[in-house]
């Protein structure tokens, strides 16, 4: 196959997220600046107007996601970017986007918390906020890059998933990856797969906005184009109007879950590294996956068979990948920069007598390969 030489650039994780968003077709951004996500706002404020897009700096994060939801409802791919404190404020509208099934992408560049915490330091403590931050039973898709290239590709995936499944998608980055610069080759447009939401093919008077389909995802009309329908945060019937009928509520909530769960397979993005013969496996994500990879290489040089499962999809949790891992490995180590948010999931899905060990670092610095190596020695 002929491969064209692509132009290489030195980009920051946040810059790559911007490039990915623009390639995916994002044309609206509303946000409020916050370290370590500010560069995304800064760069989009320059780049969006040049592609006939719209950039708004809002008064706060509640309004930011509100504006994003409104813009998306008109058919414009939309996103916002924030960090933990701002993400907390977005939780209310996040639930609104889920129940109204309005696609949008939210970047959360994780910093130390709780509260204002450590603005400029990395952390991985928003894993559970991304999953359960908003109230009510709901499905969510959360992707997590660990390289600058993945910032680009996973942002495109985030938009594609949100459009396909009519669900908000969260890109969970940590400060290290958001601020790190690496070489990246931006592919040509024809090499990039972009998915746009399915629109109704029926005339406006026949349109039933929340009617079930085999995929569980109803076609979505652009607001303002003649398809009049009702959008509400109240639990609604297939026409979008509030309902309190149990026989309408139950299928609605189940459809919200089904549209994600019946497509689990294609949302599972990750990487197995030297796991085929591994006695000990590491499960890691974000910047820590890079330290873990190094620890695997170092351990192998010392004759210990260690492997790594890198998670790029955090939610829905990669149960099958972890199950595959423990078919061989009898020891699993989960290093993460929180008190144990993903390790709980790993323990939850493992049904056998595999031992799960954790490394929980909360001192605002990245887990080093030496720290993982020390744990390997301890448990092997």
């Amino acid at each position: 196959m002929k491969k064209k030489k692509r132009k290489e650039l030195l980009l920051q994780g946040n810059e790559a997220i911007v490039e990915g968003a623009l390639k995916a077709g994002c044309r609206f951004f509303a946000g409020y600046p916050i370290t370590p996500a500010t560069e995304i706002s800064e760069i989009l404020s320059v780049k969006l107007p040049k592609v006939d897009g719209t950039f708004i700096q809002m008064e706060d994060e509640i309004a930011s996601l509100g504006a994003v939801i409104g813009a998306s409802l008109t058919g414009t791919k939309s996103m916002t970017a924030t960090s933990g404190p701002g993400f907390s404020l977005m939780q209310e509208n996040l639930g609104f986007a889920i129940i109204t099934e309005i696609p949008c992408v939210i970047v959360d560049a994780m910093r130390g918390g709780p509260s204002t915490g450590l603005p400029t330091s990395p952390s991985q403590s928003d894993v559970m906020q991304a999953r359960w931050g908003t109230h009510g039973d709901h499905p969510i898709i959360v992707l997590c890059p660990s390289t600058v290239s993945e910032c680009f590709t996973l942002t495109i995936k985030a938009f594609n998933f949100s459009e396909r499944f009519r669900n908000p998608v969260i890109l969970l980055v940590d400060e290290v990856v958001a601020h790190m610069r690496e070489k990246i080759a931006i592919p040509d447009d024809e090499e990039i797969e972009v998915f746009n939401r399915v629109k109704p093919t029926v005339p406006p008077e026949w349109y039933i906005p929340y009617q079930d389909t085999p995929r569980g995802v109803p076609p979505m009309a652009d607001f303002g184009e003649g398809y009049r329908y009702h959008v509400t945060g109240l639990t609604h019937d297939i026409r979008g109007f509030p309902t309190s009928r149990p026989d309408e509520i139950d299928p609605f909530i189940r459809r919200l879950f089904r549209k994600i769960s019946q497509n689990f397979g294609e949302m599972q993005i990750g990487e197995f590294f030297m796991t085929d013969d591994a006695d000990i496996s590491i499960v890691a994500y974000g910047c820590v996956a890079r330290s873990a990879k190094r620890a695997v290489i170092d351990a192998r040089e010392r004759g210990i068979k260690v492997g790594l499962l890198k998670l790029n999809t955090i939610w829905p949790f990669m149960r099958t990948a972890v199950e595959k891992l423990v078919a061989k490995s009898k020891i699993v180590i989960v290093p993460e920069m929180n008190m144990g948010q993903i390790s709980r999931e790993v323990k939850r899905v493992i049904k056998s007598d595999v031992k799960v060990f954790t490394i929980n670092k909360v001192d605002s610095t990245i887990i080093t390969p030496e720290e993982i190596w020390a744990r390997i020695k301890e448990v092997s």
């Binding site: 290489e8 030195l10 400029t120 790190m180 610069r181 690496e182 070489k183 890079r290 330290s291």
Partner: protein, 195 residues
């Protein structure tokens, strides 16, 4: 074992260390074609406070993005020199701005008055970082001079190209002079107690 070279550029906020980290990484990664990762860490203050930028160079893909044991440390103030010199490899290179660093913790440091040079030669203190970058490039040999110049010119504000090119060259020259003045190799051949 793959080739890996770890550089830390340190000082206080406002000295332009993150910028020269980006310039160096771009020269090595884009113009020289090696693998490179640049990271940074700084405090929440808008000015002042500690600031550092790290550049890791390799001939293969880089996993751990932060600097491990340092091959080269640039210290632009006393505090960063004190804080980080212990992270140097036994044969690692210490380069200090002797305008601010007066207590030298190691016998083999290159002491060049970057800020003083910027003030006296260029009347612009802000080019001290570019002078230091030129010196670092010369002393480490980690980047080709041509790539570095291209990279500097593509990253500095329009209208300051000549000033920055001259500053870069002044740094290279100062490093040549410092290199002639003494050879740190002799000292670095001492017993390596670490292994």
């Amino acid at each position: 074992m793959a080739f890996r070279y770890d550089i830390r550029l340190s000082g206080s906020g406002g000295q332009g260390l993150i910028l020269i980290g980006i310039i160096l990484a771009e020269a090595i990664g884009i113009y020289d074609g090696k693998y490179v990762v640049q990271t940074q860490s700084y405090g929440p203050e808008a000015r002042g406070g500690s600031s550092k930028s790290e550049v890791v160079v390799s001939d293969t893909e880089i996993d751990y993005p932060k600097a491990m044991k340092l091959d080269c440390l640039l210290a632009m103030n006393q505090k960063s020199c004190d804080d980080y010199y212990m992270d140097l490899k036994p044969d690692g290179l210490l380069i200090v701005d002797s305008t601010f660093v007066t207590q030298i913790p190691l016998p083999k440091a290159y002491q060049i008055p970057f800020t003083h040079m910027a003030r006296t030669i260029f009347k612009r203190e802000m080019v001290a970082n570019i002078i230091a970058l030129g010196a670092l490039a010369k002393l480490t040999g980690i980047v080709s001079p041509k790539s570095l110049e291209l990279s500097v010119l593509s990253r500095v504000p329009k209208g300051t190209e000549k000033l920055n090119r001259d500053a870069l060259r002044a740094g290279i020259k100062a490093a040549e002079k410092a290199k002639k003045a003494f050879s740190p190799r002799i000292i670095s051949e001492r017993e390596d107690e670490d292994t």
